[in-house]
Assembly symmetry: C2
Homo-oligomer: 322 residues x 2
């Protein structure tokens, strides 16, 4: 049995360091199909965009999508993207300077293409079809290995004059650290508020104190283990989660002082800890933020790993002036 | 001799706690005339808007401006302003909740009126006709008794979901303070980076150390005196200016992580210290900010006390869809 996709579509492509997620969307934003291909990072990632192009052709054949019905292609990429679609280096992909817009248009018979930073694009997805639906101004924080951030004001992503809008993870908000961050500085929010930050803080506490803890003696553990231990009443783990969420709340409070959003959407693996985790952020936020912004909502992301594809599809539709 | 103002005009009104600055602007943004009246804060500031209205009529008579040539009136007010023009309390004016738009339109024969927070409006003025001319994305910081801030993205002021966009002065960025800020919290950027912050830090250093200093023994001094002393080589004063500018730079670095502007414009009394002051901010900013945003410009405001009138006039023109 062959399925046929009729009507106009856009592709939402979320390029990660391991896989490229590909979504087909109707022009009203309904996801019709998704799958993924491997990311070939060999030879400075030179195959990635042509692999995507080949896959788009394959999917178009599979679903009998006519060329003229593919309106646009949007990309989320793990690096800073300028207004003109030029990516200024993606360590995870092996990319130096890559003009995603131009290369994609050349590879795909001129289909209008656009690109945005993956965290910004995920924020756009949650804003459009996820937790932020109905808001005008929203900030999304993705708490994973790193700390992603996307800022939406009046329905538009703030990409920034240097492609660095929503780089909250690399703002100087943490005291008392000595190890450098990936970015080269020390004291970045990411170092305390990401999953990696939680693991590092727990290891440090285990090393420097002799407090009893479920985590003690384990060869290795994940941020989830720290959160589970904290939920189960482990004092040391709870202190670590308090430390991490207080810094995250500080980041939100500072963000409020710049753009004063209606809502903060928290996504990424760590956010799966749910209200136990979110309530800590909410409490510290209310304590730290300027009174006028105190009632902004702090809520869990809804789209999971699909947020990037949704956002990339929205970027594609926006590039058509829809 | 009477001067006559012909053609379409807007009024830019900047309401402060002591005076109300009134500017008449051509519809292309040229300032044609300015003066000021006293701010009557008695009886919860109930006379302020009618005083302004009477003054507008007076000026219209004086310059033979026809009623139909007054296109719009814009206001800057010292408090949080919602999207709909409702002011949610201005301590300096004695105001509780005031609908500036509605009240002004009722008092001025229906002339379209709009209002914004004074720091946001001053930023709009500098963006339009001052140091930020030609940029798309700009953040202005006014370093005075308090720390004002206005954020412009793609030509629009970010007023915020709760009227608190650009409240950088009240973000939790300063460690080691015990005294509360005006807003009720402790550790606000304003407490270290405003003129008041400079004075307080100098007093503290004089009290807690016995370092020699030109400032020692003075009964009272201003932020300007601290800056002048630092310029003259006074070590204690220089330490204070370093402390204050490093925190201000931290505020800019965090702002970069949210909206990544092209330019920061520094205004207010303290900014008159010029490059001696700005170079310190520039140096700390480059040290603290995410690498992609390192080359944003940090420059001195150009319009001085007129910025608010210019911005209010621009707000008025924007309200017409110009």
């Amino acid at each position: 049995m062959t399925t046929k996709i009729e009507g106009k579509v856009v592709f939402g492509i979320d390029i990660g360091g391991t896989t490229v997620k590909c979504g087909i969307f109707s022009d009203s934003g309904e996801m019709l199909f998704k799958d993924e291909i491997k990311t070939r990072t060999q030879e400075k990632g030179k195959f990635i965009l042509s692999d995507v192009s080949a896959h788009i052709k394959e999917l178009a054949d599979k679903f009998s999508i006519k060329r003229e019905n593919i309106l646009a292609i949007g990309y989320g990429v793990p690096g800073p993207v300028q207004d003109d679609g030029v990516v200024n280096g993606c360590v995870n992909l092996g990319w130096g300077k890559v003009n995603v817009k131009e290369e994609s248009e050349a590879l795909n018979d001129g289909i209008v293409s656009s690109a945005g930073n993956d965290a910004n694009v995920a924020a756009l997805g949650e804003f459009w079809k996820g937790a932020g639906k109905g808001t005008k101004t929203m900030v999304m924080i993705t708490v994973g290995t790193g700390l992603g951030c996307g800022v939406i004001v009046n329905g538009h992503v703030i990409f920034g004059a240097h492609g660095a809008g929503g780089e909250l993870g690399h703002t100087p908000l943490v005291e008392g650290l000595t190890e450098p961050c990936n970015c080269g500085k020390t004291g970045c929010l990411e170092q305390a508020a990401s999953a990696t930050g939680i693991i590092n803080a727990a290891k440090k506490k285990l090393r420097e104190t002799d407090e009893p803890s479920i985590l003690r003696g384990k060869e290795s553990f994940m941020a989830k283990d720290v959160l589970d231990a904290a939920k189960a009443g482990d004092r040391l783990a709870d202190d670590v989660v308090n430390y991490s969420t207080r810094y995250l709340a500080r980041g939100l409070a500072v963000t409020a002082g710049v753009v004063d959003p209606e809502m903060y959407v928290i996504g990424g693996g760590v956010s799966k800890a749910g209200d136990f985790y979110l309530d800590k952020i909410r409490g510290y936020y209310r304590e730290l933020v300027f009174y006028a912004s105190r009632d902004a909502m702090i809520t869990q992301a809804l789209l999971g790993n699909d947020a990037g594809m949704y956002g990339a599809a929205r970027l594609a539709l926006d590039s058509l002036g829809n």
